[in-house]
């Protein structure tokens, strides 16, 4: 039944696709309204309207790799105020596969998530997870870890899978090079990513309901990044991601590439900084003008008992918390902190996996609350003061402020006290 409806819709879309491509800007299923801009830094607060619901930025997007978020139900995630989360195209394309998800009314239907979804292109996972992957002009070739079959992930294939998943935001397939690689390979990857962007735009079957974001590449070379920005911003895509960073490069290089990118990205489109999620990085990169972030860290670290707090992190499994009857963070309003003590969670880690779920919920709540406070301070015109307070709480003393953060903030007129 569901399958029939989908194929009919596809038929209609094919007929209409010429028309849709020409009027892409008009029908792009995304609007960005800038609510406030920080008068000191490059930070901004926006309302981003997507097909399933609106999103208040700056926003942190939790990662639900395989159509689920580490033991948390869709209702719990919604209860925490999450407006958008991620799914991984590589994993979902392998299992359960795009055909099945399409039959289930897309990833939204399959995991029963009512709000927005963003899917990556699958390329990054392939290069980082699968041995013997090979990049050619055609796409990324690799052997399936499940049945050993050779598979080609082309820009068209990536978009086709993401069309089946039905995400609100899709990412272009890019040619991923480790951020520590230098030389001609970086330039080749940058140019290829531009060519692949054009192929992705052409392959999108649902430009009226799925937004395709371009990914700025160019490694740590300012010239290459600038060239990539110039080319990609000529395309009328609904949004841009800053890619090829947070892969082990020096933080000094990292923030300079971020700020260079936001300097040249159009003001009226969302900017997504990929793979960034540590609290300090988030606050600094909001100041540098980024709107959207994702990272597996807060949920991954929860499984090992690491709870995120305004003063860093707290290792619940450590012996010192066995008799500590306070909540993880006495000021946190999450369901975990409202009911359970560090001591109980410490003990529960020895008995049941629900202990991990408690920390996961707290960590997601921490990330989302942090971003809500950031947004609130931008709206109220006191973001620079927020940064001062945040840094003071995070580090025991100013001489422990990381140098890169001090410099990055100074570049947007915030001098840490």
């Amino acid at each position: 039944m569901a399958a029939t409806i989908t194929s009919e819709a596809d038929g209609n879309l094919k007929e209409n696709s010429m028309f849709l491509k020409k009027t892409l800007a008009a029908v792009s299923p995304l609007t960005l309204r800038i609510v406030a801009e920080c008068p000191v830094t490059k930070a901004r607060a926006c309302d981003l309207t997507l097909p399933h619901s609106s999103v208040s930025t700056p926003v942190f997007m939790p990662v639900g790799t395989q159509g689920t978020l580490k033991g948390i139900t869709a209702d719990q995630l919604e209860g925490l105020g999450c407006q958008i989360c991620l799914g991984n195209t590589y994993h979902l394309g392998m299992r359960p596969g795009p055909e099945l998800i399409e039959k289930a009314n897309g990833l939204h239907g399959f995991m029963n998530w009512r709000r927005n979804l963003l899917t990556d292109s699958g390329g990054f996972q392939m290069v980082s997870l699968v041995e013997l992957s090979e990049v050619t002009e055609e796409g990324v070739k690799f052997k399936s870890p499940y049945d050993g079959k050779e598979i080609l992930l082309s820009p068209e294939k990536s978009i086709s899978i993401q069309n089946s998943l039905g995400s609100d935001i899709m990412m272009q397939l890019d040619d991923v090079v480790s951020s520590t690689v230098k030389g001609p390979r970086v330039e080749e990857a940058m140019h290829r990513s531009i060519r692949w962007l054009d192929r992705c735009i052409a392959a999108n079957k649902h430009p009226d309901k799925q937004n395709l974001f371009a990914i700025i590449q160019g490694g740590l070379d300012a010239e290459l990044r600038k060239a990539c920005l110039d080319e990609m911003t000529k395309r009328d895509v609904p949004g841009f991601a800053i890619g090829g960073l947070s892969g082990g490069e020096e933080k000094d290089d990292f923030w300079r590439m971020v700020t260079l990118s936001t300097d040249h990205l159009p003001r009226e489109k969302p900017r997504y900084l990929m793979g960034v999620g540590y609290a300090v990085d988030l606050v600094v990169c909001v100041a540098l003008g980024c709107d959207m972030f994702d990272c597996v860290f807060p949920t991954r670290t929860a499984r090992f008992g690491s709870a995120l707090v305004p003063w860093g992190s707290l290792q619940v499994k450590q012996k010192q918390y066995a008799k500590d009857f306070q909540p993880i963070d006495p000021d946190c309003q999450c369901p975990t902190c409202k009911r359970h003590s560090r001591a109980y969670l410490h003990a529960l880690f020895k008995s049941d996996t629900a202990a991990m779920h408690h920390i996961t919920i707290h960590n997601i709540a921490y990330q989302l609350t942090l971003m809500r406070s950031v947004r609130q301070s931008i709206v109220e015109g006191r973001f620079p003061e927020f940064i001062q307070t945040f840094m003071k709480r995070m580090f025991p003393s100013p001489d422990q402020y990381p140098n890169w953060a001090v410099e990055a903030l100074a570049s947007v007129n915030v001098t840490l006290e």
């Binding site: 689920t68 580490k70 779920h357």
Partner: protein, 421 residues
């Protein structure tokens, strides 16, 4: 007297054995009641496995009694002593009756560590030896509403000698007397209910002796121990329980330990058992399965026929074994969601089930979560299985009230169709 508060009100007794009623005035404030036959809420350290309070409370009618085991708690004694507020408060449990048992029926612990004066429990850090003094010190810090006394239940292995069984009865009675002595002197345990433990292995005379002697003591109710899967078959279990419950006072509840399979629950209810531990849905969850057995006996031929059809069409066809003694083995009351045939099955786990999982998700999704080893699989299955099992107990009470136990048994065993022709 110990356990003066808990009251049993029977509304019906079938064939002089099988009881329908309500346990009343439970908890320190006497504000809780529990319908019998009924089951307790199984937990790991006060947490229903895989569930947080949010996911747990998606379930509409939860058992009013939460079970915790000393095997989980004993290693945290020093923490609880420092906390002082009792286990309920420590675990963030509000508005529940707390029952503290000795062992976890879903975890088989090693044998051979019981002495005249001690029993051992196995926690995450290994074996902890309990004397009556330590056992009672634990109860004083846990502050349950109700606990079982210390007992030697090591009678379930095959080939156990009559002498060893007699010793287990003697030891358990001695532990009971010692526990009661300490209990009566402990102000902290004032108003807390005590259940004595009936032992005796598979030897009828020892079972009767244990029951009679325990019944002479001032206990609020009885735990029937040593009947778990692997210890004996259901025919012998039914025979022994029938004989034992005849010796027990009618106005006190009987809790059977270590039995949870639906067909065995029915047989044991008919033998005179009032209460069961709720560990069975957890075991089903751990093997990636969903309970799907039928228990609807409402006289609606149309829906009954539809149920039959669904069953015989092979979609929820049971592929487990009815006569397997291994607790970890799949039974015929569940479906294996890891099975490939569910990968594109977009129906709920059980049609018509009102649990969070069935209202929101499909078999294909749970199958996907299981094959990708995602934690949400355990969460969703535990919600469904707990819900299904609780509904089964409600059906047992309804069947008892309406004299339909035969029909229920046939429905649960899936033999209604054959017998009705």
């Amino acid at each position: 007297m110990a356990g003066s508060r808990m009251k049993l009100e029977l509304s019906k007794v079938v064939q002089g054995r099988c009881r329908l009623g309500q346990l009343k005035e439970m908890g320190r404030m006497g504000q809780h009641c529990l319908d019998i036959p009924g089951c307790l809420l199984y937990t790991h350290l006060g947490t229903v496995p895989h569930l947080t309070q949010d996911t747990l409370h998606t379930l509409s009618s939860l058992p009013t009694v939460t079970q915790v085991t000393l095997s989980n708690i004993a290693e945290h004694q020093d923490v609880l002593e420092e906390f002082k507020g009792g286990f309920k408060k420590f675990a963030g449990l509000h508005d529940t009756v707390l029952y503290c048992s000795l062992h976890d029926s879903a975890a088989q612990s090693p044998t051979g560590h019981t002495t005249n004066k001690t029993v051992s429990v196995w926690g995450s850090g290994g074996r902890i030896e309990l004397t009556v003094a330590k056992f009672m010190a634990l109860q004083r810090t846990v502050q349950p509403d109700w606990y079982q006394t210390m007992a030697d239940g090591e009678t379930w292995q095959t080939g156990i000698s009559r002498k060893r069984v007699r010793k287990s009865v003697d030891r358990s009675l001695a532990h009971l007397d010692e526990c009661l002595l300490v209990h009566q002197k402990s102000q902290e345990l004032d108003g807390v209910s005590v259940f004595g433990v009936v032992e005796g292995g598979d030897i009828l005379e020892e079972r009767l002796r244990s029951a009679r002697e325990t019944a002479k003591r001032p206990v609020a109710g009885f735990c029937l121990d040593g009947f778990q899967n692997g210890a004996m078959d259901q025919a012998l279990r039914s025979q022994l329980i029938t004989a034992v419950t005849k010796e027990l006072p009618e106005d006190k509840p009987r809790l059977l330990q270590g039995v949870g399979r639906p067909d065995e629950v029915l047989a044991c209810v008919e033998a005179g058992v009032d209460l069961f531990e709720g560990f069975f849905p957890f075991q089903v969850t751990e093997r990636g399965c969903a309970l799907c057995f039928l228990f609807d006996i409402t006289p609606d031929p149309e829906s009954a026929a539809a149920d039959e059809e669904q069953h015989t069409a092979g979609e929820t066809q049971p592929n487990g074994d009815l006569n397997c003694d291994d607790q970890t083995h799949m039974t015929r009351f569940e479906m294996d969601l890891k099975d490939k045939r569910y990968q594109d099955d977009f129906r709920p786990l059980v049609e018509g089930c009102g649990c969070y999982c069935c209202r929101n998700h499909q078999r294909a999704y749970v199958h996907h979560l299981l094959v990708t080893n995602e934690l949400l699989a355990g969460v969703l299955l535990m919600i469904h299985n707990t819900s299904h099992y609780n509904s089964f107990f409600r059906a047992v009470r309804e069947a008892l009230a309406n004299d339909k136990m035969d029909l229920l048994r046939r429905r649960v065993l899936g033999t209604v169709k054959e017998e009705s022709g």
